[in-house]
């Protein structure tokens, strides 16, 4: 099988899985308990937090563990705004993941003045347009670091500068679920990450909250995670997450180079097929692990099914979004519509993929596209 859907999830690193198992079967205590093995476990969790913090380039007191990227994003949006008295403006980019977009729509229902910053055709937020939207009463700006569908990379540090200039009170949040480890954490107030996109198991994520940023908890209870995120700490998930981040940190340039090489190779192969359009940024400016291509005259979903039968896993968009034909919100926002949207397929890579897989997959895709085009709407 060729797995080119690593933006949906990744296989768990065996070392990380071992670590999770050990913390389930041997070191299974509740780290909040008072006896000595639990206290030792709490220290392990602190060390894991430090590993994530080092990878982010922040202090460990600024890292809060959550259950997933969605929870991190929801906490960032609702948590910071609950700490604000009154109301004001909230700006998100038009290409955000549903866990930010739907949360923002909910905020709009709650009375916040929510604005969508337009994106360019490549998927990057239009900085000039975003700047225009920032008013002095803007309380939160949320923009993803790497777009999950197109691989577009946003300049979050530049957004932060704009915010400082025009709305000094605004918090800047970035969804780093696709960007974390492939890029440095940008300068911002809040940053969301997820374990399973980085070869850790599902069910663990983290939220960076810059010291001094006011935020209220989203889950209330026993006061774990310094009160920001109650709920028994997911020690197996956290320990595995730390392990996978440790591994990625050690091999970062090698891993990124590998992904980029596979991506470039696949695109080079695919661009030999007639009527193929690249969606998103060019090879060098896009994220190393995401390639989005439209096969004109072919339905992405039909091609996906055909590839699935040949043992190739790809996607037609975010696995988190219910897809209706012509209703891909993110591609619509980028102006990718009609046949180009219908024919869009996303390939996403990890360091485990090889150039050979890119060659094999491209050959099968070429063959399937040729078959399907015979039966296209003429």
């Amino acid at each position: 099988m060729i797995y080119f859907d690593n933006s949906a999830t990744t296989p768990v690193l065996p070392k990380a899985a071992d670590e999770a198992k050990r913390y389930m079967t041997e070191v299974y205590y509740n780290p909040a308990a008072a006896y000595s093995p639990a206290v030792k476990l709490e220290r392990d969790v602190t060390e894991a937090r430090a590993v994530i913090a080092r990878a982010m380039g922040c202090d460990k007191s600024e890292v809060y563990f959550t259950s997933c990227g969605t929870e991190s994003n929801n906490t960032a949006l609702f948590g910071t705004l609950r700490a604000v008295h009154g109301t004001g403006r909230v700006i998100i980019s038009a290409a955000e993941h549903p866990s930010v977009y739907e949360a923002a729509m909910e905020l709009r229902e709650m009375g916040w003045d929510v604005k969508l910053a337009p994106v360019l055709e490549t998927g990057e937020v239009d900085l000039a347009a975003l700047e225009e939207l920032i008013t002095p009463n803007t309380r939160l700006i949320s923009c993803m670091q790497v777009n999950n569908e197109l691989g577009a990379v946003n300049d979050i540090a530049a957004i932060e500068k704009l915010a400082r200039r025009r709305a000094p009170d605004a918090a800047v949040h970035s969804d780093g679920v696709q960007g974390f480890m492939k890029y440095d954490m940008p300068s911002c107030s809040l940053y969301s990450v997820s374990g399973h996109k980085l070869h850790a198991p599902k069910g663990v994520g983290a939220l960076y909250v810059k010291s001094g940023v006011k935020i209220k908890p989203y889950l209330i209870g026993g006061g774990q995670e310094s009160g920001l995120r109650s709920g028994t700490v997911n020690t197996p998930g956290i320990m595995a997450f730390a392990e996978s981040v440790r591994d990625f940190s050690q091999h970062r340039s090698e891993y990124v180079r590998q992904m980029l090489e596979v991506k470039k190779r696949l695109y080079a192969n695919l661009s030999r097929i007639r009527d193929v359009r690249l969606n998103g940024p060019d090879m060098e400016s896009g994220a190393p692990h995401i390639l989005n291509v439209s096969f004109m005259g072919v339905r992405g979903e039909v091609l996906l099914n055909a590839l699935s039968e040949k043992g190739i896993c790809v996607s037609t968009g975010s696995a988190c979004a219910a897809q209706k034909r012509g209703k891909n919100r993110v591609l619509n926002a980028c102006g990718i519509t009609g046949d180009r949207q219908d024919g869009a397929v996303r390939f996403s890579f990890s360091h485990l993929n090889t150039v050979r897989e890119a060659d094999t997959a491209a050959a099968i895709i070429e063959e399937q596209v040729a078959i399907l085009r015979k039966y296209r709407r003429r």
Partner: protein, 388 residues
Amino acid sequence: MEKVLLVRYTEIHLKGLNRPYFERALVDNMKRALHEFSPRIEREHGRIYVRNIAEEHMDEAADRLTRVFGIHSLSHAVAVDKDWETVVSAAAELMEKRLEGVSSATFKVLARRSDKHYFMNSDEINRELGGRMLEKFPQLSVDVHKPEIKLSVEVRDMAYIYCDEIPGSAGMPTGTAGKATLLISGGIDSPVAGYMMAKRGLTLSAVHFYSYPYTSERARDKVVELTQLVSRYAGEVRLYLVPFTEIQMTIYEKCPEKETTVLMRRLMMRIAERFARQEGALALITGESLGQVASQTLEALVCTNDAVTLPVFRPLIGFDKDEIMDVARRIGTYETSILPYEDCCTVFVPKHPVTKPKLDDLRTSEALVDWTEMIERAVEKTELMTIK
């Protein structure tokens, strides 16, 4: 005090000498719907009584019965001894529950008496019991025309007392009208069509065409799920899953593009008819609605009909899409139907299908290919699932 479900049935009473046959079929269907609860079902004087169901299963049992065709309505009733004071106190207990949290309400008593030896007639029961209720519940007042609460008392072998009527699905008992085969896609219309014909007493089998590998496994699961939802009303459905890709691709390669959809429909009907005959079904059912899409114009339907000799039932033929969607929502198939997967009818679609196909042209186009072997292969690779 015994709790029973009192069931009223529909037009079965019109069926003259066949009536016992329809009643028996209804009772059998009710038994099947309730089999886990081991009910005792009794028929008497135009009513069916469901007894012996544990209290915690009563609501579920009632809910299931609302999906059994042939039932007009049902009520949660209590059955008590006919002793007058016992009747009054049981009625008061029911009324007390019914009035919980209600500050004022209008009511009337509706008595029926099949035990003609009872010491009061229906009018006397109405007056007496009404009076006792008014004494006990000051928040009640009588309204004989539009009461909010109808307190019903039926005096038979025992006295049956109830307040509310739950509407049933009406129709005729499934199985009393024979068997037909439904062509089911993954859309909104065909499950509704199947439901409507099952409502007239038909037993169903179903045929689904899929375009492996171009349609996904989720699309297939969706059809299984839809069939399962229909079977909640229609009883067991045997579902034939027919691989259709080879035939579709051949149509596209060899036949005029604008006729592909109608040709596809003709071949689907042929294959469905084969399975229908195998099942002993005497008709085909489709979800077509006149003019909804190019393959559902009158001319196109004439061409589709021409491919088979069994009668084709199209219960939705005069329905607007909105009306179909309303039924789909009511019977619970809508949410599944709108799941967005490609199906065999959307994978290969001509851009400009012919809307007024001519039968002679289609016959000529179809004759360009010998379909026999391909149909055999599709039939051979068909998978059969029994959905309950």
